[in-house]
């Protein structure tokens, strides 16, 4: 428990001098995510603890190994929360893994993604240098935004030691409107409601049912419900199960694809079942279609597809980058990790 920076720093320094790859491990809750890699485990889970939490400043700073649940509990005690509603996928989920994967829950389109809440971080780069970027203030444009660059980089350009996040107050109340309708009506309504400034905090469509979560005070929710129609329920179970992938839809051995595209993109002509999240901008696809066909269909609409779960054939999970962008990734990887020892190949074969 506590600060094991030195130990981590030594391990990276050793790996750097012996050119031996490291596999960064937190709670293991997202081991399935990304490419399978070889390397000596470097365990960050013990590097834990909330360093500071100032409710009136709306900022929390914690070590990367801190359990996500500990952070959420601490915030909850003060009536606050993480605005990006991160999935846990297991009780062992840590802050570091959450940021390294940049995964965000149903609230994302309306309140922002993990990357939107990162204010600063301390990292160890591939040369075992301890570096601090950003800080604990909302506005900070000194230097390149390396803290945000760390979000979603899967540990390939730095090991996260600690992260500072902006937090937000919990809404006074949240309730969900549910409505039976076809998919096109659902997509139209999801857009229409937001455009009318209704207090939407999540929108999903699954199995012929549209779910719209409202976050405000009771009076506003009641008024919004009157306008929207459907049934108003106080149950949060659907959102919890959607976020944690516990709905029946996810209980499968078929590949689960994560499709990210414009919220108003046309329905995809792909076999399989789809659940809509993020007001249409995130679509979970359960399908046996070929990876090429899925990627091609999503790319044609300007989006990208990730083979999220059940990647039995060990395909490249992430969408191919354009050559120009891929070259930038290579250059950046080298700029942070010249010996190529931090989670090498976790994102792409050479990243």
């Amino acid at each position: 428990m506590g600060d094991i920076t030195q130990k981590l720093q030594q391990q990276i320094a050793q790996a750097f001098s012996s050119n031996s790859p490291l596999r960064i491990c937190g709670g293991g809750s997202k081991d399935f995510y990304g490419r399978k890699i070889q390397g000596d485990n470097i365990n960050v889970a013990e590097h834990c603890g909330i360093i500071s939490y100032e409710p009136t400043e709306l900022v929390i700073t914690a070590r990367a190994g801190t359990l996500l649940s500990d952070i959420e509990n601490s915030l909850s005690e003060k009536g606050q929360m993480l605005g990006f509603e991160p999935p846990h996928f297991s009780d062992t989920a840590t802050l570091g893994g959450t940021i390294a994967c940049n995964l965000s829950g149903p609230r994302r389109p309306y309140r922002g993604a993990a990357r939107d809440y990162v204010l600063g971080s301390t990292i160890l780069n591939g040369k075992a240098e301890k570096l601090h970027f950003g800080g604990e203030v909302m506005k900070n444009v000194a230097g390149y935004d390396v803290s945000r660059l760390m979000c979603g980089s899967l540990g390939t350009i730095g090991l996260l030691l600690d992260v500072s996040l902006k937090v937000i107050p919990k809404p006074e109340a949240e309730s969900t409107v549910i409505l039976e309708c076809d998919v096109q009506t659902a997509i139209d309504k999801m857009h229409q409601w937001v455009q009318q400034s209704l207090p939407i905090s999540a929108c999903s469509y699954a199995n012929g049912t549209l779910y719209a979560r409202l976050a405000s005070n009771e009076a506003s929710i009641k008024l919004a419900h009157q306008y929207m129609g459907g049934e108003l329920i106080n149950d949060t179970k659907y959102w919890q199960q959607l976020k944690e992938q516990q709905l029946d839809f996810f209980h499968t051995e078929m590949p689960i694809w994560r499709l990210s595209l414009a919220s108003n993109a046309a329905p995809l002509n792909l076999q399989g079942e789809i659940i809509y999240d993020w007001g249409g901008a995130l679509r979970w696809l359960r399908s046996d279609e070929s990876a090429d066909k899925i990627r091609h269909a999503v790319e044609a609409l300007g989006g990208h597809a990730t083979l999220f779960r059940n990647n039995v054939n060990q395909l490249d999970p992430f969408h191919e980058l354009s050559p120009g962008i891929h070259a930038m990734h290579r250059q950046l990887k080298l700029a942070f990790d010249p010996a190529n020892i931090l989670n090498p190949g976790r994102m792409y074969a050479d990243i």
């Binding site: 570096l131 203030v137 909302m138 506005k139 006074e172 506003s220 993109a265």
Partner: protein, 492 residues
């Protein structure tokens, strides 16, 4: 790497070759044509570029960058030139690449709530164009009438609504960028994320050091059902600061939360007659927006909190007209302060809000020490201070003293855990303070990032990130807590 000065023949050749890419009138090289480009919004720094290029197509931008890459000529990109940190200060041996002709809004998607715009589109023009759909573009730097979106992205501009609606980085979705090698790449996507590293975040606020932006997809927000404003006067700035914490602790995130001190209040009131109480030591302006019912409830709670927090007067705007009047004074604060003195110098530090009393006290002491008055305008909700130092550039040495005073304010911001710049950028202005904000390791990492995109160091050289040698020289002058910064470097 060092930029080598061009010989006269090389200069002529550069201009000739630019004229092959662009029409003659889009290549400016005579002194009288170059003068309008000699500075940006920070006019204390001036420099004529070798040549100004005014392309109007992405292909031309690519060709110009390819040429400059080949000839190893520096390139400084410029939008409207409203920046306050000298980020667009020209390079004497370089091309000043103006994106002013890229003025078109290419597409508005009211359903997905995005707009595709060229970099030279003015910030406010976006909100005006999408108003018909009940939408707006949230980041609103005070220069929004003139500043352009390309510059906003390069600086990660903020505004008065950041606490609730975020900075530029939170409000763009896709970016087309031309690299120093002349290649075009698209960052981000049509959805809410993209595969790979978050290059969009890296580019936002990169101050023209990594690429030239030629097209952006911005996110639009639906206009709130209602906005209400409240003005509170305090006889003590510390009480005003504490009241800000009270509001946020109560779970309320205002759309805007601004503080002004006595000198700023006086200046604004004399200038625009916003009805500000002149006997107050500080005023808070708080705007709440959202759903009718929620705002109605929150405004009552904020009113009570302010009264309990010791406000000497609390006024809720009766209507939109009065709300706009409240804001008029705040929005005119900079020019208003400008009337008090021949020149003023606008600082841009951020601090954790809890340190406000200490920072204001130290600033007042410094103000007395330097004998230069300071008016304070403060984005109180997000901890972004804008101290305005009043000075007279015609008095020999006064600008230098002002800069030194400003430097100390920024150092103070870093000492309390804040930042030397919240939204104006580093540019040339705060390059020395970067040596206080960061250590050798971080600066070296920044240079490595720069090299990953611009190995020859041609994009906006000398800005944003200081060389280690510069920091060593600066460190020799500024010993912090008895410790020399960057002790590993030799001194010059």
């Amino acid at each position: 790497m060092q930029i080598k000065p061009l010989s006269n023949d090389e200069k002529k050749s550069l201009i000739r070759r630019l004229q092959l890419i662009l029409p003659r009138e889009a290549v400016l090289h005579l002194n009288e044509d170059l003068t309008p480009y000699e500075c940006d919004g920070l006019s204390a720094y001036r420099n004529l570029p070798l040549v100004v290029a005014l392309p109007d197509s992405i292909e031309q931008v690519q060709a110009i960058l390819k040429l400059c890459f080949e000839l190893e000529v520096p390139v400084v990109a410029r939008g409207a030139g409203t920046g306050l940190s000298g980020g667009a200060l020209p390079h004497s041996d370089g091309v000043l690449l103006s994106l002013a002709k890229f003025k078109d809004i290419l597409n508005i998607d009211p359903v997905q709530r995005t707009a595709v715009v060229q970099p030279g589109v003015r910030n406010l023009a976006i909100s005006e164009a999408v108003d018909q759909f009940g939408l707006y573009y949230a980041p609103d730097p005070s220069s929004q009438i003139a500043c352009t979106i390309g510059g906003n992205i390069a600086e990660n501009s903020g505004g008065v609504h950041c606490l609730k609606y975020g900075l530029t980085v939170h409000n763009i979705q896709q970016l087309k960028m031309v690299t120093m090698q002349g290649e075009i790449v698209t960052l981000g996507g049509t959805g809410l994320d993209a595969p790979g590293f978050d290059l969009l975040a890296l580019m936002t606020g990169s101050e023209g050091m990594l690429g030239v932006f030629v097209e952006a997809t911005v996110k639009l927000l639906p206009k709130p059902q209602i906005a209400k404003a409240i003005l509170a006067a305090f006889d003590d700035v510390v009480k005003a600061g504490a009241a800000v914490g009270d509001i946020i602790s109560a779970g309320i995130i205002p759309a805007g939360l601004e503080m002004m001190d006595k000198l700023a209040i006086k200046a604004a009131e004399e200038f625009v007659h916003a009805g500000y109480p002149l006997d107050a030591e500080a005023i808070l302006l708080c705007e709440l927006d959202g759903c009718d019912m929620e705002v109605a409830e929150h405004i009552e709670r904020v009113k009570t909190l302010l009264e309990e927090g010791g406000a000497t007067e609390v006024r809720v705007a009766k209507d939109d007209h009065e709300r706009m009047t409240f804001w008029k004074g705040r929005k005119a604060a900079f020019p208003a302060v400008g009337r008090l003195s021949p020149d003023y110098y606008c600082m841009d530090g951020t601090i954790p809000r809890k340190h406000l009393p200490q920072v204001l006290k130290t600033m007042a002491e410094l103000s007395a020490e330097y004998n230069l008055p300071v008016a304070n305008v403060f984005h109180a909700g997000d901890g972004n201070l804008h101290p305005l130092i009043l000075y007279d550039a015609n008095i020999p040495g006064e600008l230098e003293r002002t800069e030194e005073f400003g430097g100390k304010i920024l150092q103070l911001c870093v000492e309390v855990g804040g930042s030397i710049t919240g939204e104006h950028g580093v540019g040339v202005e705060k390059i020395n303070q970067m040596c206080i904000q960061f250590q050798t390791g971080e600066l070296t990492q920044f240079h490595a990032i720069k090299k990953a995109f611009d190995g020859k160091g041609l994009l906006n050289p000398g800005k944003a990130v200081p060389t280690l040698h510069r920091c060593a020289e600066f460190g020799a002058m500024h010993v912090h807590n008895g410790e020399l910064s960057h002790p590993e470097l030799e001194r010059f």
